[in-house]
């Protein structure tokens, strides 16, 4: 389970006042900005994206250009998206519980 209440990792320097785009992580409401990728939206409000599969380490992406594949996150509907190359859309609901685990 992600400690998504931990402090934001990324700092916004531009677009701070751009339109807010609402999304949720495990049901908690947050907002990103118009023009955010999923990774930036999440990392601007929390300290991690996911836990690694084999050692449960926190992970937060690494390359930001779609190469390292470290940033996959799961939507509540079960779809997995690569956070750094996926634009944020309003009302995306992310879950940090593995899909198919229940």
């Amino acid at each position: 389970m992600a400690t998504h209440h931990s402090r934001p990792q990324f700092q916004r320097h531009f677009r701070r006042d751009d339109a807010h785009i609402p999304f949720t992580i495990d049901g908690t409401a947050y907002s990103g900005r118009r023009g955010d990728t999923v990774l930036v939206a999440i990392m601007s409000v929390t300290g991690q994206l996911r836990r690694s599969e084999f050692t449960s380490e926190p992970r937060a992406g690494f390359c930001l250009i779609g190469a390292c594949q470290d940033c996959f996150v799961t939507l509540a509907c079960g779809t997995r998206v690569r956070a750094c190359t996926t634009p944020l859309e309003a009302h995306m609901a992310f879950t940090t519980r593995e899909s198919g685990n229940e």
Binding site: Q11, G35, Q48, A67, C68, P87
Partner: protein
């Protein structure tokens, strides 16, 4: 159902854009495919939405070039078949396999120009998988494309021209740069002096970043090796050695990298022969001066055929297009081709010098504890890889992958194969070219399982 194109360009960075432009000028209508949302490639990446920054804010000294390339690309749009957000994930039987939006498609081609660019070359160190540690390219992309810094207080670490540039960009954007840690000795920088005659502008702007950083009070250290990251959930500080001295710096983010590595998977799947490149310390697809491979109809340009930078990518992109034009029996200006080839050779010489000024940290693994993660996808440690090498007397990289699992994960070895190669070679006292190279496998990036054929 499958279409066949006379020319396909993969990649819409500087190389791809210049290739497309030359093809259009010759009356061809290339298909231009790029995985990104907007053309420009990595260096001239455009924000998803306008955020009020000018081209100079975004691209600094390269603003004029960026603006020109973007404008040229936009002007090409009516004359090309542009497919953004489309991943080429396999090449087989003269067909490209693509996905866009979860739909699978094939395109046949007569000619193919691969300009697939590069990604950061990274090496493991203790703590490099913690949230807050990013590649240099990531730090730059966060700022350029998203207007964010990767943390409040950032340490820049590594070797390569990007190190000082990105640190300076962070300072300029109002970020707090805790230090710049160069893994090379200061003396290496003196090599830059001999590069001045090849490209005075580039060298002088490059050197000015260090000076400007110092003026803003940023500490520079040379000859650095990181020894660990503080923090268990995210970065709280970085410990390092500079020569014999140990230091620690409080920070909440680290950006690091050692220049770039070419993205060569598609050339490999297309069957292009590779050669070992001493300077890039890796295998690269073999081409002639104009970018021709020995596979009929397949051409390479840009960093995907060897790291040479954005200006060289423009040159090699145009050259590859002219080669396509020439080989298709149309008129290509031979004088233009030889001018470009000459310019390309000069850029290569410049790269040789830059490599001396920003050298790869050859003895990196002398100081890396065995418990450090080597493969971030499969979470395989350095010591387990070394044990696998010893236990099986391994001498070949694919074999090491098979027996250790390093390189078998989602990234297909992009983030660990350079390190694996260095470790295998040094453990067995072999030279890098002797241990082979990881074979590319389709799909070159993860594909949705629910992918379906167009029309079905």
């Amino acid at each position: 159902m499958n279409e066949t194109a006379s020319v396909v360009v993969v990649g819409a960075g500087p190389a791809g854009i210049c290739a497309a432009k030359a093809l259009v000028a010759a009356g061809l209508r290339p298909v231009v495919i790029d995985e990104g949302l907007r053309a420009g490639g990595q260096i001239y990446r455009r924000p998803l939405v306008d955020d009020g920054r000018s081209a100079t804010d975004l691209y600094g000294s390269e603003a004029a070039k960026a603006t020109r390339l973007h404008r040229e690309f936009d002007a090409l749009l009516p004359s090309i078949d542009y497919r953004p957000q489309t991943l080429v994930w396999n090449i087989a039987d003269n067909q490209l396999h693509l996905t866009a939006n979860g739909v699978h498609q094939r395109i046949g081609f007569q000619n193919l120009i691969l300009t697939t660019g590069a990604t950061d070359r990274v090496l493991p160190f203790p703590g490099w998988t913690l949230p807050g540690v990013y590649t240099l390219g990531a730090a730059q992309t966060a700022l350029k494309a998203q207007g964010c810094t990767i943390g409040k207080r950032v340490v820049f670490l590594g070797s390569g021209p990007l190190l000082y540039l990105v640190a300076w960009q962070y300072v300029k954007a109002g970020g707090d740069v805790a230090a710049v840690l160069d893994t090379a000795p200061f003396a290496a920088k003196l090599n830059l002096l001999s590069a001045i005659r090849f490209d005075p502008r580039l060298v002088l702007t490059g050197m000015s970043y260090a000076a400007r950083l110092v003026r803003r009070g940023v500490k520079l250290h040379y000859n650095v090796r990181p020894t660990g990251v503080d923090g268990s959930q995210h970065v709280e500080g970085l410990n390092f050695k500079s020569g014999a001295k140990t230091h620690s710096i409080a920070c909440d983010a680290v950006a690091y990298g050692f220049a770039l590595r070419a993205e060569t998977q598609l050339a490999d799947l297309a069957g292009c022969p590779f050669r070992f490149d001493d300077r890039d310390r890796t295998w690269l697809p073999a081409t002639d001066d104009a970018g021709r491979t020995s596979c009929k109809g397949i051409y390479l340009a840009g960093d995907g055929s060897g790291i040479a930078g954005a200006d060289a990518a423009e040159i090699s992109g145009e050259l590859a297009a002219l080669a396509v034009i020439q080989d298709s029996g149309m008129a290509a200006d031979p004088r233009r081709m030889s001018v470009l080839a000459g310019a390309r050779r000069r850029k290569a010489k410049l790269r040789d010098i830059l490599e001396k000024a920003f050298p790869f940290p050859q003895n990196w693994f002398d100081q890396i504890p065995g418990a450090t993660t080597l493969c971030r996808c499969e979470e395989i440690t350095v010591s387990s890889v070394i044990d696998t090498v010893h236990g099986n007397d391994l001498r070949e990289l694919n074999r090491l992958k098979a027996l250790s699992r390093a390189g078998m994960g989602r990234c297909q070895g992009r983030m660990c194969s350079a390190a694996m190669a260095e470790i295998l070679a040094s453990t067995q006292k072999l030279k890098l070219p002797e241990i082979g190279r990881l074979r590319a496998q389709a799909p070159i990036k993860p594909l949705p399982l629910s992918l379906h054929e167009a029309g079905s």
